[in-house]
């Protein structure tokens, strides 16, 4: 009997602790609610002052060791030296970041640990729609005025979705095709030539199954090549309409299946696998969203130096990736200062130099010295010059059409 009483007492005690713990936290959250009202629309000097001595976290995909290195060894020291801001780079997939933010929102946490987020496309769309982001802040950044071309479509909309100042451009990506000149001489210039190429190299071409970013972009590039890209920009996100419009491309993809790896019955799950299969010689062609990846891979010895980059004549899809600020960020001032610095000519030039990623600054807005520095960067082996890439760059489809196409692909193309 005694033991029962003790057990009961202990259980009640634990439950009480939990309840009290929760309610205490709720009160604390209410008290902090006022700090959420951060005003980005004031003198930048004031924001600089507030940011001084703070630590700002930058959450984004952690699988690119070159980018991690660049952030930690180039960007972080600049921020520390010039603004006394400490940059904490945290590797986390965007899905997990959004899951964390929406969990925090549901629980009412006003001061989260995520400040800056590397984001774009569908993820930006859903994050903004779900009110997880802070903004607008973009036009308040001095370097936005100074370096970025605000007429550029990609600065105003991300996958066709209006940005409204909720994210700042970070770097530009574009789909490129890659093959080895010592294995196959030709570089297909359009969808028709690609079909021929696949027939000649039966079973040695494939692409990653969407929702892999690169595989999905490859499908969109083929759709653009076959049915044109303009009609998608203001297309209604309706499965029936989209399917009707892309039917010739679906027909093409089904035909292509016959000549693909494993006869198109299955597709690799990630673009990393496709890249590895190409490296192993199992495939004759691969593709990448980083237009200069061939140069870095040759440097690392992963690719032979006969590997080169090519594009379709009509172009390939390109998009910009951005940095946003979490709505419940506890260091918004420092995040704004850090983002302002990242879009400067200085940091963007080092990004192009060290990561070989396309810069977001407008070349025309650079001064002579900055232009000279930019031009002096060697782009490396097996890649295309920047003006060729930019001249064959097609805009992304609206963010809400992308998942519809991915769905149609699964139903209509794979294994058919």
């Amino acid at each position: 009997m005694n033991k029962r009483i003790i057990t009961l007492f202990l259980t009640t005690f634990i439950v009480l602790i939990l309840i009290v713990g929760c309610s205490n936290k709720d009160r604390e959250m209410d008290a902090n609610a006022s700090s959420e009202a951060f005003n980005a629309n004031r003198d930048f000097k004031e924001i600089l002052k507030e940011a001084k001595g703070e630590t700002v976290s930058f959450y984004g995909w952690g699988g690119d060791e070159d980018r991690n290195k660049w952030l930690n060894k180039t960007v972080a020291p600049i921020l520390k030296k010039e603004y006394d801001i400490t940059l904490d780079v945290v590797g986390m997939d965007i899905d997990d970041i959004l899951a964390k933010l929406s969990g925090e929102k549901q629980a009412g946490l006003k001061k989260g640990s995520i400040d800056m987020i590397w984001i774009n496309g569908e993820n930006f769309y859903s994050a903004k729609e779900n009110d997880l982001l802070f903004g607008p802040f973009l036009e308040q950044l001095p370097n936005f005025e100074k370096y970025i071309d605000n007429e550029d479509e990609e600065v105003n909309s991300d996958f066709g979705f209006s940005i409204d100042g909720y994210e700042a451009p970070y770097s530009k990506a574009q789909l490129v095709f890659i093959n080895d000149s010592s294995v196959t001489k030709e570089t297909p210039k359009n969808a028709k030539e690609l079909m021929k190429y696949c027939k000649e190299n039966k079973g040695k071409v494939t692409y990653a199954a969407p929702p892999d970013f690169t595989g999905s972009a490859f499908i969109r590039t083929l759709i653009y090549d076959i049915v044109g890209h303009e009609q998608f920009l203001d297309m209604k996100a309706d499965k029936k309409i989209v399917k009707e419009k892309i039917e010739p491309a679906l027909e093409y993809l089904r035909e292509l299946n016959k000549y693909l790896w494993n006869e198109g019955k299955t597709f690799p799950a990630t673009s990393g696998e496709v890249k590895n299969m190409f490296g192993d010689g199992e495939l004759v062609m691969t593709m990448s969203y980083s237009p200069y990846s061939v140069a870095t891979e040759i440097e690392k010895g992963v690719y032979k130096d006969t590997v080169r980059t090519f594009l379709f004549d009509k172009g390939t899809v390109g998009n910009t990736n951005y940095i946003a600020i979490a709505k419940n960020s506890s260091n918004k001032a420092a995040a704004i200062v850090a983002i302002n610095e990242i879009i400067s000519a200085k940091v963007q030039t080092t990004q192009f130099e060290e990561l070989k990623e396309l810069a977001v600054v407008s070349y025309d807005k650079l001064n002579d010295e900055e232009k000279k520095r930019f031009d002096s960067i060697k782009i490396g082996q097996g890649v295309l010059p920047q003006d060729e890439l930019l001249s064959k760059r097609l805009p992304e489809m609206p963010a809400n059409i992308v998942p519809i196409i991915e769905e149609i692909w699964i139903e209509e193309v794979v294994g058919k």
Partner: protein, 270 residues
Amino acid sequence: MKSINSHSLLKFLLYITLFIILVPVLILILWTFASRWPWPKLLPEVYSFRSIKEVLSPHANAFSTLFSSIFLSLTVAVLSAIVGTMTARALVLYDFVGKRVIDLLSIAPILVPGTVFAMGIHIVFIKMSLSDTLLGVIIVHLIYTLPYSINIMKDLTDSIGKEMELQAYVLGASPLKSFRFITLPLLIPGLMSSISMAYIISFSQYFITLLIGGGNVKTFSVLMVPFIAKGDRTLSSAYGLIFIVSTLLIFVLIDRVFKGLSFKTRKEEI
């Protein structure tokens, strides 16, 4: 004759097992130093020290993360063994209200799908201000390791029973003394496997660590998984190799500590 036959069969199986374990490790070692290894070459075509440079470079924080990760998982493992032993004892030797419910609940964490569980516990932890803290990660790892610890200890406690402890009481030993000199030494094999099991489970948690730790608590798995997901074989192999070697060393350490412990107890007994 028959015994010799089964002996050689056993040996054969042992070699096969060894082969199955060692060959992948060997490939891992080769890939750590290979940058290109196209089919059908037997050995890599191009070697590089890229992964070693990357792992050793200070900005990667590989080793400081490894050590804090080991510390975290050892803490979880020891706590898990203690809680597991106590829970198993209660479930086997005592009768109380809700015993069967607790018995069932003790395996619930491995029955509920991981992501579903993670999302729920995340919200609870935010409300309790445990998210983004080391304590939160330790607690959430414990939830995953306890089912194993409890069940390992339950079988052992069941087989030991409490007769020997009662015998000690009859001879005038205090509960503390009887636990120290009789029950504990008998529990040591179970404690050892319970700690090792909990350690490896805690050390390899990725998603839940990321979600509850929120990037503030960096563990080795959190550092390693993005490279594996990306398909960078060279870096993945280097990290994988460190993962295996460090875990093996910890297992040897656990083994040594317990061997020393049981020896000491025996000596004191005499």
